[in-house]
């Protein structure tokens, strides 16, 4: 057991410090708020289930720095999102556009609601007739 203390785990991380703006807020609160809102809707490609705002992964911190640097430089959140989508596909965004692939997500609830209304109507009608 004591030996375990001397074993160093193999970290899959670099030894460099985080990128300049990874964990440092922008001076302008309005810009920082814009950056934060965007970061919460961008997927961390290493951890996949987390947004880059939530993740400790180095790549997520580099992406946060990229977002803040570009917001600071005057780009809009939509421009940055488009830049990332051009590289990683819609997968990078937690705000997917309406497309043939995502259509069922939007349409199924409406179809189910209509089906429910139809079923309810049929059963109410029967009760009324009795």
């Amino acid at each position: 057991m004591l030996l375990l203390l001397f074993i160093s785990p193999a970290f899959a991380d670099s030894s460099l410090p985080p990128a300049p703006l990874a964990n440092v807020q922008l001076k302008d609160p309005a810009k920082e708020a814009q950056a934060q809102a965007l970061m919460a809707t961008l997927r961390c490609v290493v951890c996949q289930g987390q947004s880059i705002a939530d993740s400790n992964a180095e790549m997520a911190s580099d992406m946060r720095s990229l977002v803040r640097t570009r917001i600071e430089g005057g780009q809009s959140p939509a421009q940055i999102r488009d830049w990332l989508i051009a590289r990683y596909g819609d997968y990078i965004s937690y705000d997917p556009p309406f497309s043939a692939l995502t259509a069922p997500l939007w349409i199924t609830p409406l179809v189910l609601l209509a089906l429910g209304a139809w079923l309810a109507r049929a059963s109410f009608k029967r009760r009324g007739a009795r």
Binding site: S15, L16, P20, V45, Q48, M59, D62, A86
Partner: protein
């Protein structure tokens, strides 16, 4: 309700169970692929990380000679496993340029001394900027670039032994 309709929930539940079983036994491919395959390399200019080799700029990639762009790091363990395959590719005449992600000159020198040096150039990328610009999601990754600077293929993860001949053939077939 007719007797036949009563079976519908059962059939739906069975189909759902089947779907779940299928997902369990054949999980979806979670590899994040670059959307830039088939397009021209984005513009970049990275300084060299070791004094003996040039850095990495877009200009290197539109010179008429196809080459590989290897995304690696000294702290990445699969990159060590990949090193012998890169050396074999170099022996076969494939030019390999590289970008070192979040690395230091000392660590890179050590890595090259230990695992061999297949690289013609190594760019220094302290903040993963080129990696993000390429749509790459980890180390190691290898992009096959044709002589006009177009991304032909992205290889995610370390190159295995049995993939080397295919890559050599691919690069030789490019213009």
């Amino acid at each position: 309700m007719s007797a036949r309709l009563i079976w519908i929930p059962f059939v739906v539940a069975l189909a759902l169970l089947g779907l779940i079983a299928w997902g369990l036994y054949k999980p979806a491919d979670r590899t994040v692929r670059s959307a830039l395959v088939g397009q021209t390399l984005p513009a970049f200019d990275l300084p060299p990380i070791v004094p003996t080799k040039p850095g990495l700029a877009t200009a290197r990639f539109a010179t008429g000679k196809p080459r590989l762009l290897n995304v690696f790091a000294s702290w990445c363990i699969p990159c060590v496993a990949e090193a012998p395959q890169l050396l074999r590719l170099k022996q076969a005449g494939v030019v390999i340029d590289a970008v070192a992600i979040r690395d230091t000159p000392a660590a890179i020198r050590d890595f090259l001394a230990r695992n061999g040096d297949p690289y013609a150039a190594i760019g220094d990328d302290q903040t993963s900027s080129l990696q993000l610009a390429l749509g790459s999601s980890g180390v190691p990754e290898t992009f096959v670039i044709d002589g006009r600077g177009r991304i032909v293929q992205q290889h995610v993860g370390d190159i295995r032994e049995d993939e080397v001949p295919g890559l050599i053939a691919l690069v030789r077939g490019l213009k």
